[in-house]
C-alpha cells in the first residue's frame, strides 16, 4: 500500500497511537455529509476519505469542514481515484496522506508535492496565504514609508544601514551621472557597505575609469563587480550583437540575471532612482518590494537641482560623459545624449523601452 506523506511534519504521536492499535480509524465516502462526522471527529485518530472519481470535489469540502468546523486533529487520508495533480489541493484543505488507486506514480506525486507551496487562499493551518503574507509585508513597508516621509536622504540611509538592515543591505550603483550623491552619503555612514556594480561588458571606458576614481575618492572599500555568466553569454550572445536585435534580452542577460544572483544574499538594496526621471518612476516610493526583496530609494524625491547642489557642495567628481550631454549613462550600445529635459531620453532612444528591467518584477524568460 502506497502512502505518500503530504505534510513532512506529520504527527509522530498519532503514528504511535495508530501503530499500537489504539484509536478509531474509519473510511467514509467523499460525499458524506460533514455533520454526520461530529462524533468521529472527536474520537478518530485517522479518517480515510474515499474519492470515487478525482473529478468529484466533495471530498475537499468534507476535509475542510472536518478540520475547520469540527476541529478534527487526527490523521486525514485521501484514498481512491486521486491524481498527483491534486497534491497541493489535498494538502491545503487538510489531508496528511494520500493512498491512491494507482500505485505506480510515486515520482509524479513527489514532483507535485514541490509545487504550489504558496497559494492565494489560506490553507487549513492558516499559513502560506499570499493574501495574509502580503498584508503583513505591506503593513511593514507602509510603516517604513510613513517614517521616512519625515526624514532626509542622509538620515534614511543611516537608519537603513544601521538600524533596519545592518549587514544585510547593499547599494546598487551604475556609477553613472548622478551616482556620486548616494555613494557619498553611504560612505559617510559605512564605507564598507557592499556596492554592487554591474559590469555588462558594454560599459563606456569612461564609466569603468570613473568607478575606480570615485570609489577611491569616497573611500568605499567593498565594490563588488558583477559580471554576466560567461556560459550564458556564449549561448545567447555569441556574436556580441544581441543588443541590436533584442534590447530586452540583452539587458536580461547582462543585467537582470546577474543582479538576481548577486542580491540573493541581501534583504534590501539601495538604489539611486528618482521620481523626476519620469516614466515608471513617477510615483516611486522610498521603500518598495521588488522580486521578494526590499528596495530603498532614499533620493526618490530629489530634483535635478538638488543633485547639482549636492555635487557642488561636496565637490564630488563628475562622470566625464556628463560634459558631453549624457544625462543618464548606461551601456555604450544603447546610450545617447539626452534629447531634451527628459533625463532618460538618451536611453534606448528610438525604442519604446525605457527601463532595463532590474527594478521590476521580472518576466519569465522563454526557454
Amino acid at each position: 500500500m502506497l502512502t505518500s506523506q503530504l505534510d513532512p511534519a506529520h504527527r509522530t504521536d498519532l503514528d504511535a497511537q495508530i501503530a499500537s492499535g489504539g484509536g478509531e480509524t474509519l473510511t467514509v465516502p467523499g460525499d458524506t455529509d460533514w455533520r454526520e462526522l461530529k462524533d468521529a471527529a472527536r474520537s478518530a485518530v485517522r479518517i480515510d476519505i474515499h474519492f470515487d472519481s478525482f473529478k468529484d470535489g466533495r471530498g475537499f469540502t468534507l476535509a475542510s469542514q472536518l478540520r475547520g468546523r469540527l476541529g478534527y486533529a487526527g490523521r486525514l487520508r485521501a484514498t481512491g481515484h486521486v491524481i498527483p495533480d491534486q497534491a497541493a489541493h489535498l494538502k491545503r484543505v487538510g489531508f496528511d496522506e494520500v493512498d491512491p488507486d494507482r500505485k505506480d506514480l510515486a515520482t509524479d506525486w513527489a514532483k507535485a508535492h514541490q509545487r504550489f507551496i504558496d497559494g492565494y487562499q489560506a490553507d487549513h493551518a492558516g499559513t502560506s496565504a499570499i493574501l495574509g503574507r502580503r498584508s503583513r509585508e505591506n503593513a511593514d513597508i507602509a510603516a517604513l514609508n510613513a517614517r521616512y516621509r519625515a526624514m532626509d536622504a542622509q538620515d534614511i540611509i543611516a537608519d537603513a544601514l544601521t538600524r533596519i538592515w545592518p549587514g544585510r543591505i547593499a547599494m546598487m550603483s551604475s556609477f553613472g551621472a548622478e551616482a556620486a550623491v548616494g555613494l557619498h552619503m553611504i560612505a559617510q555612514v559605512a564605507p564598507d557597505t557592499p556596492v554592487l556594480f554591474l559590469d555588462t561588458g558594454r560599459l563606456f571606458a569612461q564609466t569603468e575609469q570613473y568607478q575606480r576614481e570615485l570609489a577611491d575618492t569616497l573611500g568605499l572599500t567593498r565594490i563588488e563587480i558583477i559580471h554576466p555568466s560567461a556560459r550564458e553569454v556564449a549561448d545567447e550572445d555569441a556574436d556580441g550583437k544581441l543588443w541590436s536585435r533584442n534590447a530586452d534580452a540583452c539587458c536580461d542577460l547582462r543585467k537582470v540575471r546577474p543582479l538576481d544572483r548577486a542580491v540573493a544574499g541581501y534583504d534590501a538594496l539601495f538604489t539611486g532612482r528618482k521620481r523626476f526621471h519620469g516614466g515608471d518612476r513617477l510615483q516611486l516610493p522610498v521603500v518598495e518590494r521588488v522580486n521578494g526583496s526590499i528596495r530603498v530609494n532614499p533620493l526618490a524625491s530629489w530634483s535635478a537641482e538638488a543633485i547639482q547642489t549636492y555635487f557642488q557642495r561636496y565637490d564630488l567628481p563628475r562622470h566625464p560623459l556628463t560634459e558631453m550631454g549624457y544625462a543618464s549613462i548606461g551601456c555604450w550600445t544603447c546610450t545617447a545624449p539626452a534629447q531634451d529635459d527628459d533625463i532618460r531620453s538618451g536611453r534606448w532612444a528610438g525604442q519604446s523601452k525605457t527601463e532595463c528591467g532590474i527594478h521590476r518584477p521580472y518576466p519569465v524568460a522563454a526557454e
Binding site: 455529509d33 466533495r58 475537499f60 469540502t61 509545487r115 498584508s135 522580486n291 521578494g292 518576466p363 519569465v364
Partner: protein, 547 residues
C-alpha cells in the same frame, strides 16, 4: 491595471511547469485522456472539430498594449494569423498544437497573462463592465473587486472540482453591461441609506439549456465580507450541486430545487462560521488593489467633435460613449465588419489596436461581452486620428449596438458541440441588413446567434435571438424575441418553428421593417417589442414562406 508581484509570477510559472509535465505524461501514457481532459481544460485547452482551441484569460476584459501585442504575435506564430474575442471577454485561438501550448503559456506569462481556469468545472474568468473606470453612469469601478475575486478563485484548493463550471460577474454602473443577472453569482455595487458601499448579491442565473434569471440572495453585503460570503455559496454548491447529470449540475438548478429562501439559509449557516476568520478582507488590501486601477486625466480638454467627414460623424454617433471625465470619451472598436466573422481580429489588427492603445488610449483596451473592443479612455482631440487609423484597417465599422453588431458563437464551423453553423448566418444577416440600409435606421437592436442549445452565443438575452438546430442532417434556425440583459433582464421567447438558413436574413429584415412601421417616436426596438408583444412580429417572420 493590476501588476503582478513575485507571488503572482511564481504561481503562473509553476502552473506552466505543471502543464508541461501533464502534456508529457499524456504523451507517454501515464495520464489517460479521461484524466488529462479536465486538467487541460483547466488550462483553457479544448479539443474542437479540427484542432485544439486555446482560450486565454483576459481578466475582466482588460488589457495593456504590451499584452495585446503578445496576443497578436501568438496568433501569427502559433496559429493562423487571427484570434477570436469571446462573450466572456477572453480570446480564443483555434489552431494551436498541444505540443506548442507550454511555449505559448511562457510568452503569455512574460506579460502577466495565462490560460488558467478558462474552462473546466472550476471558477472561470470574472467578467465586469467593459467601460469600468470610464462610464459616465458608474457608481464605482468594478475592476478592483473582479481582481480580488480572481485571486481568491485561482487554484482554490477546495473549489477546483465543482459539479460544473462557475461564472461570476461584477457591475458597478447604473446600466448592467456585465449581465450579472445571467451569471452563477452576480454582484452589483450599491450604496446603502448611510452612504456606505457594498454589494447586492444575485445567484443562480444562467443561459445554456435552461436559461434562468438570477435570484437576489442578499440586499447588502459589506466589502470586507465579500470573500467569506462567496466561499459560503461555493461550499454549499460544491456539497449539494448535482453530479449525476451534466445538464442539471449548475448552481441555478440547485437554487431552483431548494428555493431561494432555503438556499439562503444554507449559505448563511455556513457564512456564520467563516465570516470572521482569515477570509475577512482587510481594508489595506482593498486599498492596495484599488490603487492599481485609476482613471486618467486628459492632457488637454476639448469637447467631442461635431464636425468632420460624414463617415466620421456617423462613427461618433454609434461608437463613441460619454466619459465620467470631461475631455475624454470611450470608443467601441467594432469587430463586426459587414460580412465578416463577428469577434475575429487578425494579428495585424491586434497590433494596430495595441499601437492606438499605447499612443492614444492611456495604455488600456478592453474586450466586451459583445465580442468588440473598447478604448475606454481617449482624448476628444484624438478621436479623428483614431478613427482614421481604425478605418485603414477595417476596424471602424460604425455599428456598435446596431443590428449588424451581431454576437455569434463559433458554431459548427469550429465547435464539437454545435448542431448548426452560426458564422455564415451572421455574415448573411449582416450583409442583407446593410444592403437594405436597415441597421442604421433601426437603431439599437441586439442580435445573437447560438449554434446549439448550449447558448454560448447568448441568444437567450438578445432582442432577436437565433438558435441553430439540426433536423435530420439539415440546419434550421429558431428565432427568439424579447431577451434582454440589464436591470430589466428577460429571456427571449421562441416565436415559432425553425427557418431554413437561407430564409433567416430576410426574416430578420422583415422584423426590422415591421418595427419601423410600428414604432412610436424615439422608441427603441426593445421598447416597441415590449409594448406590443412578439405576436406583432410573428407574422412578419413567417410571411413569404408559405409560398
Amino acid at each position: 491595471m493590476y501588476r503582478y508581484d513575485e507571488y503572482d509570477h511564481a504561481l503562473v510559472r509553476e502552473r506552466i511547469e505543471e502543464f508541461r509535465d501533464q502534456v508529457a505524461r499524456r504523451m507517454d501514457g501515464r495520464l489517460t485522456e479521461d484524466e488529462f481532459k479536465p486538467l487541460r481544460l483547466m488550462n483553457g485547452v479544448y479539443l474542437q472539430l479540427h484542432a485544439y482551441m486555446l482560450r486565454v484569460a483576459i481578466p475582466y476584459g482588460a488589457l495593456r498594449a504590451e499584452q495585446m501585442r503578445v496576443l497578436a504575435r501568438i496568433a501569427q506564430r502559433y496559429d493562423r494569423g487571427y484570434g477570436h474575442f469571446t462573450t466572456r471577454q477572453n480570446i480564443q485561438y483555434n489552431w494551436p498544437a498541444l505540443v506548442d501550448i507550454p511555449e505559448i503559456l511562457v510568452h503569455l506569462a512574460e506579460v502577466e497573462m495565462h490560460a488558467i481556469q478558462t474552462s473546466g468545472n472550476c471558477i472561470r474568468n470574472v467578467t465586469a463592465d467593459p467601460f469600468a473606470g470610464a462610464a459616465a453612469d458608474e457608481l464605482e469601478d468594478s475592476r478592483p473587486w473582479a481582481e480580488i475575486i480572481r485571486q481568491w478563485s485561482t487554484f482554490h484548493p477546495e473549489f477546483t472540482f465543482l459539479p460544473r463550471k462557475f461564472k461570476i460577474a461584477v457591475n458597478g454602473a447604473a446600466e448592467d453591461r456585465a449581465a450579472i443577472r445571467f451569471h452563477d453569482i452576480g454582484l452589483q455595487i450599491v450604496e446603502n441609506a448611510d452612504g456606505e458601499r457594498g454589494f447586492e448579491v444575485w445567484v443562480g442565473g444562467g443561459q445554456g439549456r435552461t436559461p434562468r434569471l438570477a435570484r437576489k440572495i442578499r440586499d447588502f453585503l459589506e466589502p470586507q465580507d465579500l470573500l467569506s460570503y462567496l466561499t459560503a455559496i461555493l461550499r454549499v454548491y460544491n456539497q449539494h450541486g448535482r453530479r449525476d447529470n451534466l445538464y442539471k449540475a449548475r448552481i441555478k438548478i440547485l437554487v431552483d430545487s431548494l428555493g431561494i429562501d432555503a438556499f439562503r439559509e444554507e449559505v448563511d449557516e455556513e457564512w456564520g462560521y467563516v465570516r470572521d476568520g482569515d477570509l475577512r478582507l482587510p481594508q489595506a488590501e482593498i486599498a492596495r488593489i484599488r490603487a492599481f486601477f485609476t482613471t486618467p486625466r486628459p492632457r488637454s480638454v476639448s469637447p467631442a467633435p461635431q464636425t468632420g467627414p460624414a463617415a466620421f460623424r456617423s462613427w461618433l454617433d454609434t461608437n463613441r460613449r460619454d466619459h465620467q471625465v470631461e475631455g475624454l470619451s470611450s470608443v467601441v472598436i467594432s469587430l463586426k465588419p459587414v460580412g465578416g466573422t463577428p469577434g475575429d481580429a487578425t494579428s495585424e489588427q491586434m497590433s494596430i489596436v495595441a499601437e492606438l492603445t499605447e499612443r492614444y488610449g492611456f495604455d488600456e483596451v478592453r474586450v466586451t461581452p459583445e465580442q468588440n473592443l473598447v478604448l475606454p479612455h481617449v482624448e476628444n482631440g484624438d478621436l479623428f486620428a483614431i478613427w482614421e487609423t481604425l478605418r485603414e484597417h477595417g476596424l471602424a465599422t460604425a455599428n456598435a449596438g446596431l443590428a449588424t453588431d451581431i454576437v455569434t458563437c463559433p458554431g459548427l464551423d469550429y465547435c464539437n458541440l454545435a448542431n448548426a453553423r452560426s458564422i455564415p448566418v451572421a455574415q448573411a444577416i449582416s450583409a442583407t441588413l446593410s444592403a437594405e440600409g436597415l441597421a442604421e435606421i433601426a437603431g439599437q437592436v441586439s442580435i445573437k446567434i447560438s449554434g446549439c442549445i448550449n447558448a454560448c452565443g447568448h441568444h437567450h438575452i438578445a432582442h432577436i435571438g437565433v438558435l441553430g438546430v439540426d433536423k435530420r442532417g439539415e440546419e434550421f434556425y429558431q428565432i427568439t424575441l424579447g431577451g434582454a440583459m440589464g436591470t430589466d433582464a428577460a429571456i427571449g421567447e421562441i416565436v415559432g418553428k425553425g427557418l431554413a438558413g437561407e430564409d433567416v436574413p430576410a426574416a430578420i429584415a422583415r422584423i426590422l421593417r415591421r418595427f419601423l412601421e410600428l414604432r412610436q417616436t424615439g422608441e427603441a426596438f426593445i421598447d416597441t417589442l415590449r409594448r406590443l408583444g412578439s405576436d406583432a412580429f410573428k407574422e412578419a417572420i413567417y410571411a413569404d414562406l408559405a409560398a
